[in-house]
């Protein structure tokens, strides 16, 4: 197991290198360092000298990928790519282009993201499981048919409708919770209600349908038929056999998304004014803060790989027949 994880971690290095290079190229194909400087220096009265000084200060006065003027190793090392990427691999994200410590910001903004994502995941899981089981229980009846159609209908509504509609209905007409915003500590609770409800509702369609498929598959299996033949009640069959066995794909499905919870949701966070990592990334893209974009992409890639490894491990734990090799 440990050997496997180590190997996967080593395998991650070329991937991260690739991700970093790609981000870098994508970013600088569309943005010149002059653009960045101008953007950060403001709108009025920006002269070329100030641009040069800014670039020099932030280390953007070097060549992008290859330094033709340098000699020896410096051809590669004395470039923006190298100097800016080095820290990432030891998770030292450095400072954003406007001078803030990125690592500190990430640690701060991680919590609001989690505060939305974790309850949404858990409540969503509970609701979807319940509905999935219910529909599986009433399989081949009108409830099943209309349940599935209802799920598909829920899936066919754009997420934006849920957010706009929810804010309008619950926040404005009913005046039950604040429309948007965030606070620290216990005060955050009332801000979380709306995004979590909307997150759960928008996930019901796809989730329920998926769980229904899983349960139906389990119900069709031989051991369930045997259990039923033994005279177990439908309820016991459902909970003891179908749910228990169906948990394997469900848990692995959950494990995959666990690491990405940190990254937050771009749309929800910016609509509700929640200072999480999702809105952090979006702001950085809009303000062309390359240092943040690069850090977030790197972090996202790391978490993605961690997710893959976790899934593998979850499989082996859930099903001992699978061996990691």
């Amino acid at each position: 197991m440990i050997a496997y994880i180590t190997r996967r971690m080593l395998y991650a290095i070329p991937i991260l290198l690739g991700v970093n290079l790609l981000t870098f190229v994508l970013f600088f194909v569309v943005n010149s360092t002059d653009d960045m400087a101008r953007l950060h220096l403001g709108v009025k009265r920006v002269n070329p000298e100030a641009v040069e000084v800014w670039k020099q200060e932030h280390g953007y006065d070097k060549p992008l990928l290859i330094n033709a003027k340098a000699e020896g190793l410096e051809v590669v090392t004395d470039t923006i790519l190298f100097t800016k990427s080095l820290g990432l691999f030891v998770f030292d994200f450095g400072r954003s282009d406007n001078g803030r410590d990125i690592g500190y910001d990430i640690r701060q903004r991680m919590w609001p993201s989690l505060a939305i994502a974790v309850p949404t995941l858990l409540v969503g899981l509970l609701v979807n499981l319940t509905f999935g089981l219910l529909i599986a229980f009433f399989r081949h009846t009108y409830i099943d048919l209309w349940g599935v159609i209802f799920c598909v209908a829920l899936m066919s509504v754009s997420g934006l409708f849920y957010i706009v509609g929810g804010q309008y209905l619950i926040g404005k007409l009913l005046a039950v919770v604040p429309i948007s915003g965030y606070d620290t500590g216990v005060n955050a609770l009332k801000f979380l209600v709306l995004p979590v409800i909307i997150g759960v509702i928008s996930g019901i369609g796809a989730g329920t349908r998926w769980y229904r498929t899983i349960f139906l598959e389990e119900i069709g299996r031989d051991f369930v038929r045997t259990a039923r033949a033994k005279g177990l009640t439908e309820r016991l069959v459902l909970f003891r056999h179908v749910l228990a066995n169906g948990m394997i794909p469900i848990i692995t499905g959950v494990v995959v998304v666990l690491p990405t919870l940190f990254m937050g949701s771009l749309i929800t966070e910016s609509f509700f004014g929640i200072p999480g990592l999702g809105s952090y990334t979006l702001d950085a893209i809009n303000s062309q803060d390359f240092a943040i974009v690069r850090s977030m992409v790197f972090l996202g890639a790391v978490l993605y790989i961690v997710g893959l490894v976790l899934t593998d491990i979850a499989y082996t734990i859930a099903d001992p027949r699978i061996r990691l090799n």
Binding site: L41, G42, A50, Q167, P178, G181, G273
Partner: protein
Amino acid sequence: MPLMRYLIVSAGVVSVLSGCIDGNWNSPYPVADRDNNTLYSSFSERPKHLDPVRSYSSSEYAFIAQIYEPLLQYHFLKRPYELVPLTTSKMPEIRYFDARGRALRTDVSMDRIAFSEYEIEIQPGIQFQPHPALAQDGDGTYRFHALPPEQIAQAHTLADIGSTGSRELTAADYIYQIKRMADARLHCPIAPIMDEYIVGFSQLAESIAAARESQSSTHYLDLRRFELDGVRVLDRYRFRIRIKGKYPQFVYWMAMPFFAPMPWEADAFYSQPGMSDQNLNLHWYPLGTGPFMLTENNPNLRMVMDRNPNFRGEPYPTVGSDEDAALGLLEDAGRPMPFIDRAVYSLEKETIPYWNKFLQGYYDASGVSSDSFDQAVQFGDQGQAGLTDDMRERGIKLSTAVSASVYYMGFNMLDPVIGGDGMRARKLRQALSIAVDYEENISIFANGRGIAAQSPLPPGIFGYREGEAGMNPQVYRWVNGKRQRRSIDEAKALMAEANYRDGIDGVTGKPLVLYFDSASTGPDAKARLNWMRKQFERVGIQLVVRATDYNRFQEKMLKGGAQIFQWGWNADYPDPENFLFMLYGPNAKVSHGGENASNYSNADYDALFERMKNMDNGFDRQKIIDKMLALVQYDAPWIWGYHPQSFSLHHDWYKNVKPNLMANNTLKYKRINVQDRTAYQSRWNRPVVWPLFALLAVVVVSVIPAVVTYRRRMRKAAL
């Protein structure tokens, strides 16, 4: 029945919960703060720099103008705008000298003046806000100027450092800040202007740069050691600034935060190694003498300013017009400011939640976006703006002002088709100036909030003329005492004269295609661009819109690659020079990197501009300005566009509101009636809970058939 029990329990939980959440459920603020004397406002964009040497945008000024105090300020109530002392004891005294250093009388002709000197005296007894950088031990050594790196590494906010101190403001603090402007590392945006005027500024910049070279970049550089020829300390409270020539606009700069005092201790404190790594620097934690101080700086969530306990208690202005008195703006006359204890600015990026929260009473004031306009504002019988009944019932108040800015449509004068001094291109530009109907633009896209511009000069700026005298004769006619846009037929006739009959180039026989570079994005962009296309179609010209992002747009402007573009300008100070310089040849964007984006260059205009620039307001200046405007109106390098009118709303409990487009430090004048606010808030925000219970009932009812089926099945399975 277990279901019933569950229902009862959950109902109990709900009632207990609602008991806990006292007050309004949807209030975005803690319940405990409800009755505090706190102002609630918002910011949509994170302020980037709070260092007065660098800040130059309104989002930054919203904060630092309350914290830092430059030498002068604009009078809160008087119009036209008038500068008055802020920290000085009186307005600066100006003296003129000729090249040999002899003092001149004030009324001598301009070309004899080689130097001007401003003598400034600040009030004694002004204290800085409490700040650790100023904390001293009993023996006068600074307590936190040599912190061990471990302690810095553990501090994430200023409060983590420890105790605070204060000291009196002196003339040296102002001089220190002027020297900071010369430090290239601080990116002062107005350094080139100061370099042009302040004597010895460029030498200082050079010696600072040299000193920076020789030491590590983070190390503290004590600017007190450097000499600035043009600035002299006279005594503890007095100093003198010497500038080249005569530059009447210089006093306006003295009212901007660039001329705020900066104690050397702040620089020394923040340049300790490791400080900046903890976000502890002047961009994040200002140190000023103003009525407020920044106590929480979390740009991801909110910014909080608290009353500065050391503030001297500047009195509320006592002079105002009768109208001001009628509006109750003089009720607080003479009382010590500020009136509020705390101002909370929450991050609010989306307009919908922002507007809704304003209506719910959780923001004290709001701008009026074009989409909430109809809801809030209606025009009266004579076309004057007023509030809708709904708003009036809520006790909401409206204030309007024409802002000192211009949104224009520029032609790139370097373009072979549309630009240049040729008659053909000029006629084309004139035709387009008529065709693009900005009155319609204002009514569609700005809800009529603006006035069509006749020249770059907005109302309220010296040189602007009302009525026929101020009309642009190329585009308008004066009919029955009213300005009337020339007809589209006249535009077509001009097109024909330019050999573009019906939009077909008479030389090549091809239709004329023009290119419009637009950086506008967002929901409205499509409608705006379509509108623009229609305007050009009216004279048969096909307009191709080249949409781009703002960065690309700026670069294009810098390289002169655009043909037609739209841009705007906000005044730095209320002087015509600040607008007319946008058409001054040596300010051209492409050749000089200046603000003359259309690269207009006209020798006559340039000569007039140079004369007008340094004149005092008066009859002569007006005459020159008239001449200049006639020139550019004829040449039509811009379609003059419009001057936006700013509308803002505020609640009944928010007092002392008068739009002041020049002053940024207006927070100190504001007063809030907290009792009224609380009452209104709870009236407007009674939670509606019955739909939730109705929903619950529906769920329960719909569960019944499912339960019935379930039972039937169980029985079947049991059989």
